[in-house]
C-alpha cells in the first residue's frame, strides 16, 4: 500500500477496521454518521481524501448502509478519491437471485449493479452465489471479487475439534464445504435444505453415520438460525457426540443465538465479517492479501 491510500470505515465496525488498517499499514479514518429524527442520515467524510480510498462497510441490516454508500461514494470522489474500493465483508441481497414468483424483483442483480456503478472494485466474502457462478455475472467483469472464508474456518475447526465431521446445508454449498474440509483434513457431507418461508427451513441430513461423531454444522451465514437449530436437534437425536456451529457471517437476528444454545449446540463460531460475540476467526488476512493484489 502506498501512502496515498486511506481506509475509511464506520464506528460500528471499529475493531475490524483497526485490524485491517494495521495489516495493510495504511491510515484509518471514520465516516461520521448522524441520524435525524425524520430518518435521514448526515455523513461527514475526512477531507481532502487521498487518491486511493478503501471503504469498509459490511451490509448486515443493509438498507440504511446502502443509502450511506450511495451518497458517500460520489462525495468521496468529489473530495479527491480517484480509485474507490468497497470492502463489504458481508454483501446483502445476494440470496434474492431469481424470480421465485412472477414479478419478484431480482434484487441481487440490481444491488450488485448499483454498487458496481459507484465503486471501482467490490470485495466481499462468501456472497452466497448459489445460482450464479461468480460476481462477474451481476457486475461488470473484474469489479466484483468474492473471497472464501471456508479454508480459515476449516483450519480453525480442525484445531478445536480434531476429528470433526463437517456437515453443510445443501448441495449448492458442497464445494465450499469441501474446501473447508480440505483445509482442516476433515470428513464432510452435505444435506438438503427444504424452505417453507422466512423462518421455516428444514434440513434433510445427509445419509451418513453420525453416532459418536463430533459434528460441526457449517454454513455461509446464520440469520434466524432455524435451519441450524433443527439440524442440531436431529443430529443429537441420532447420537452425535457433540454439535458445534461455524459460519462465515454471524447475522444471528433476534433470538437465534440463545435458541441455538438451548437446542444443545455446544459452541458457535463465526468469522469477524460481521461483528458479533461469536467471532473467532479473522478475515483480515484474506482481505489484506486480496487488497495487496488488487
Amino acid at each position: 500500500m502506498t501512502s496515498s491510500t486511506l481506509l475509511l470505515a464506520f464506528e460500528d465496525e471499529r475493531a475490524l477496521a483497526e485490524e485491517l488498517a494495521a495489516a495493510l499499514a495504511v491510515p484509518l479514518a471514520f465516516v461520521r454518521v448522524h441520524r435525524f429524527p425524520d430518518g435521514e442520515l448526515r455523513l461527514v467524510l475526512p477531507k481532502p481524501l487521498p487518491a486511493r480510498v478503501i471503504l469498509l462497510r459490511g451490509l448486515q441490516q443493509p438498507n440504511d448502509k446502502l443509502v450511506e454508500l450511495l451518497v458517500a461514494a460520489p462525495a468521496a470522489r468529489e473530495f479527491g478519491a480517484r480509485e474507490l474500493l468497497l470492502v463489504s465483508p458481508y454483501l446483502a441481497y445476494m440470496r434474492q437471485d431469481m424470480e421465485f414468483t412472477p414479478g419478484e424483483v431480482v434484487s441481487q442483480r440490481h444491488i450488485a449493479r448499483l454498487l458496481a456503478a459507484h465503486f471501482d472494485r467490490v470485495l466481499t466474502i462468501d456472497p452466497h452465489l448459489h445460482r450464479i457462478a461468480s460476481l462477474d455475472e451481476v457486475m461488470p467483469p473484474g469489479v466484483g471479487v468474492a473471497l472464501s472464508a471456508a479454508p480459515v474456518l476449516g483450519a480453525w475447526i480442525a484445531k478445536h475439534v480434531p476429528d470433526a465431521l463437517l456437515i453443510g446445508p445443501d448441495e449448492e454449498s458442497s464445494q465450499w464445504v469441501s474446501e473447508a474440509a480440505l483445509a482442516g483434513a476433515l470428513d464432510h457431507a452435505v444435506g438438503r435444505k427444504v424452505r417453507h418461508g422466512d423462518h421455516q427451513v428444514t434440513l434433510a441430513l445427509p445419509d451418513c453415520e453420525v453416532r459418536g461423531r463430533a459434528v460441526v454444522l457449517l454454513d455461509d451465514m446464520a440469520s434466524t438460525g432455524r435451519t441450524l437449530i433443527g439440524s442440531a436437534e436431529q443430529l443429537l437425536a441420532r447420537g452425535a457426540s457433540s454439535v458445534d456451529v461455524a459460519v462465515t457471517h454471524a447475522l444471528f437476528n433476534g433470538d437465534a443465538l440463545p435458541l441455538l444454545k438451548a437446542a444443545g449446540v455446544r459452541q458457535v463460531w463465526s468469522s469477524n465479517s460481521v461483528p458479533h460475540e461469536s467471532n473467532a476467526v479473522s478475515v483480515v488476512p484474506l482481505l489484506t492479501q486480496a487488497l495487496v493484489d488488487a
Copy 2:
C-alpha cells in the same frame, strides 16, 4: 391518460393512491413488500407492466423506501415499462443542500441524481429548495418537477380562518408564504429561523402586531415540531387570539403533535402528501394536472 398507463403504489399510501388513480382514470396496482428478519426487502411487482408506469412513493423515513425504488425501477423496465415516472409527494434529503461543515456530504445532490438516473420524471411537492432555485440544478433539466401546495393551503385557511395572519418561518419561505396568502387573500409575514441543532430551532417572529389576530403558522414541513411549538407559545404570549398550524408535509416525528396541542395550538392541518391524521387538503388535483401535462 391512455390505457397503457398504470399507477403503481405501496400499501401504506393506499388512500392517496386510490384518490390519484381515480382522478387520473388509470388502473392502480400495488407493489408487494416483504421484510426479512435480516432487514432485506423482497418486492413483487405486477407483471407484465404497460408502457407507462407512474410509481407513487413518498419518501418520509426514506432509506428503506429509497432502496425499494432503486431495485423496483430497473425491474419495472424489465417487466415492460418504457416510461417510468416517480411521484414522490415528499422528497427526502432536500434539506442537506450544502457542506455545512468541511467534508459533509451534500446528500441533496446525490439522492436527486440517483432518482434521476432511475426515473424519466420525478414529480414532487414543496421540496424545500432553499439554496437552489429549482430541481434542474440537481437533476438533468426537465426531469424534476416541483409543484407547490401553497395555494391550496392558502385557500383552505381562508375558508376556515377568514381573517388569518399567515406567518412563515423564514425569509427563504417568503415567496412560498406569499403565494398561499395571495390564494387566500390573507395578510402574511415571515420570521427568522435560528437553528441550534436537530431539536433546537428558535423562531424570531416578524415585527408585526399579532394582538387579537388569528395566526396560522405556515411551513413546508413539520418534523419534530419544535420551531412551531416555540412560535406558538410566543404568539399566544404576545396576545394572538388563536394559533393554528398548516404544513404541506406532516412528518411529525415522535411526540410532535401532542406537544403542539399542549403548547396551545388550536388546529393542525396538512396536505395529504404524507399520510397523517392531520391531512385536510388534497394534493391530488395538483398531481393530476401535472401528470396530464407531463
